[in-house]
Each structure stands twice: as structure tokens, then as C-alpha cells.
């Protein structure tokens, strides 16, 4: 059970999604990946991908135009 931060501030689409996809492969079941983004499109496509994969997902707006997508690798 570890928590991994992935800093994607300032990254444009599709980089946050590609990085998240790569990172989650390294994690084990039960680990949590927190993707920090400020790209408004990534705030939609990262959660969409993670939900489709069947992970638990939550999006938190941490500041104006900044979000954290919290993904729990469930399988």
C-alpha cells in the first residue's frame, strides 16, 4: 500500500494520460496513484481512462485550474 505522486503540472495532453498509463503498470494492487494536473482536458481524459480500467477514481480540485486525480489500483 503505497502512495505515488505523479507531477504533471504544466504538461499538455496527452502526456499526463500516457504517463499515468505507464506509471500504473509499475504499481501493485492496492497502491494509489495521485496525478497532479493543470490541463483541463486531462482532468477529463485521465479519470475517464482509469474508470474504464475499473480502478477507483476521484478527482479533487486543489486550486483554480489544478486538479489531483486519485487512482486506486484495484486489480
Amino acid at each position: 500500500m503505497k502512495e505515488v505522486m505523479l507531477d504533471c503540472y504544466g504538461e499538455a495532453c496527452p502526456v499526463p494520460l500516457v504517463k499515468s498509463q505507464n506509471k500504473i503498470k509499475e504499481l501493485e494492487v492496492g497502491d494509489v496513484l495521485i496525478v497532479q494536473i493543470d490541463h483541463s482536458c486531462a482532468m477529463k481524459n485521465v479519470p475517464e481512462w482509469a474508470r474504464k480500467e475499473g480502478y477507483n477514481v476521484e478527482v479533487e480540485e486543489v486550486d483554480d485550474g489544478e486538479w489531483e486525480v486519485i487512482i486506486e489500483k484495484t486489480k
Binding site: 495521485i34 477507483n56 483554480d64
Partner: protein
């Protein structure tokens, strides 16, 4: 979804964060600015005001929908997602119906059909141009409309892309004569109703869009399983 993920947010402490500023008043100011500009333009030309207002509508919708033509072409290959691709296909289908209705109306009335300047010659220049455009938009993180929209959202990167887009356009315009002489002038302009008739063209186009939609969805399902 909410009950499954309640643990996730409780982990995070947001104590050390500065309080969020409320930007809504600024949003209303921007809307007021848009309206004032429209009124000023309207004094000079209502056409100009119309272009301005439809532009703001397009920008607003693109931003609210996170609608990205770049993603519709890029994501199927890069990330395996096709939800934007399918939305673009829906937009194409609806707009095809609306456009054809307008065009057909003009044709029936014996008037010149509007929008025919968008039926352009097909040549190797079309493919080369589209190919270069495709590479550029993925690297720069947005096509023409996407770049404008992201300039409005405050992306410095897209502002740089915007400047170089203009330079590239000027360069392309400079070379346009050469391309025109060697390729474009030899290419045919094909308006589908001329080939298949009005009804035939619409039906064929909608069928193709429908097939693409189904293929996109099936492709996503297949690729999703591979992870």
C-alpha cells in the same frame, strides 16, 4: 462511485493550501466585455458582431466540452480511447444533415449553393498538408481551434504554438503558388451529390460515419482488454 472512493480523498490533507480564489466575478466581467464588444461591432457592421459572437460560442463550447479534434485523431492510436472520436463522428453526422438541408434548399430554388468554396481540389497536396498538420497538432498539443481555445485558457505553450502557426501559415501562403501549379490545379474537386445524387450522398456518408462509430467503439473495447 462515491461510496467506493470515499477513502481516497480522506487521505489527502489540504490544510497547507491557500484558499481558492473565486473567479466567477471575473467570468461575468468577461461575458460583459464580450457583449460590449458585440454592441460596438454592431454599430459598424452586424455581420462583424455575428462572427464575434459565434466565435465566442464556439470557444465556450470547445472549452466546456474539452472538445479536441486533435485528441479525436491521436487518442485511438496513442491511448486507445475513442470517446472523443465518436463524439466528432456524431458532430459530423448532425452537421452533414443540417448543411445538406441548407444546400439542397438553395439548389432547389435555383440559387448558388452556399459553402461550395469548401469543396476543394483533391491532390497530393491535400494529403501532404493533412499529414504535416496531423504531426504538428499532436506535437503542439492542439489544432487551430484547440490552440485558440487554449490560448484563452492561459497555456503559454499554446501561445508559442500560435505564433509559429502564423509564421507557418505565411510560409505556406508563400509556397502556395508552387503547390497550386504542380499539384492542386490538377486535382479534381468532388462534391458527393454530383456523384451519388443528394439522397445517395447523404445516405452513403451517414453509413460510413455509422460504420466508423461502431469500429471505434469495438476497437476501444478490444484495446482496453489488453492492458
Amino acid at each position: 462511485m462515491a461510496e467506493q472512493t470515499s477513502t481516497a480523498s480522506s487521505r489527502r490533507s489540504s490544510a497547507n493550501r491557500k484558499p481558492k480564489k473565486n473567479q466567477i466575478p471575473l467570468g461575468f466581467l468577461t461575458v460583459a466585455f464580450i457583449i460590449i464588444v458585440a454592441l460596438l461591432l454592431n454599430i459598424k457592421s452586424s455581420n462583424m458582431a455575428f462572427f464575434w459572437l459565434t466565435g465566442t460560442a464556439f470557444g465556450f463550447i470547445l472549452q466546456k466540452g474539452r472538445f479536441c479534434f486533435t485528441a479525436s485523431m491521436r487518442d485511438p492510436y496513442l491511448t486507445g480511447g475513442t470517446s472523443i472520436t465518436r463524439a466528432v463522428i456524431i458532430a459530423f453526422a448532425i452537421t452533414t444533415l443540417g448543411f445538406t438541408a441548407i444546400k439542397y434548399g438553395y439548389a432547389q430554388a435555383g440559387l448558388p449553393i452556399p459553402g461550395m468554396s469548401y469543396v476543394v481540389p483533391i491532390s497530393i497536396a491535400t494529403l501532404v498538408g493533412a499529414f504535416l498538420f496531423g504531426i504538428g497538432m499532436v506535437i503542439a498539443g492542439g489544432c487551430a481551434s484547440g490552440t485558440l481555445m487554449r490560448v484563452g485558457e492561459g497555456f503559454i505553450m499554446n501561445m508559442i504554438a500560435f505564433v509559429f502557426f502564423i509564421i507557418g501559415s505565411l510560409w505556406g501562403a508563400h509556397d502556395f503558388g508552387w503547390w497550386k501549379e504542380w499539384f492542386i490545379s490538377k486535382g479534381p474537386s468532388i462534391f458527393l451529390p454530383d456523384v451519388f445524387g443528394w439522397m445517395g450522398a447523404v445516405i452513403i456518408q451517414l453509413m460510413v460515419l455509422l460504420i466508423l462509430y461502431v469500429v471505434a467503439e469495438q476497437y476501444e473495447k478490444k484495446r482496453g482488454g489488453a492492458h
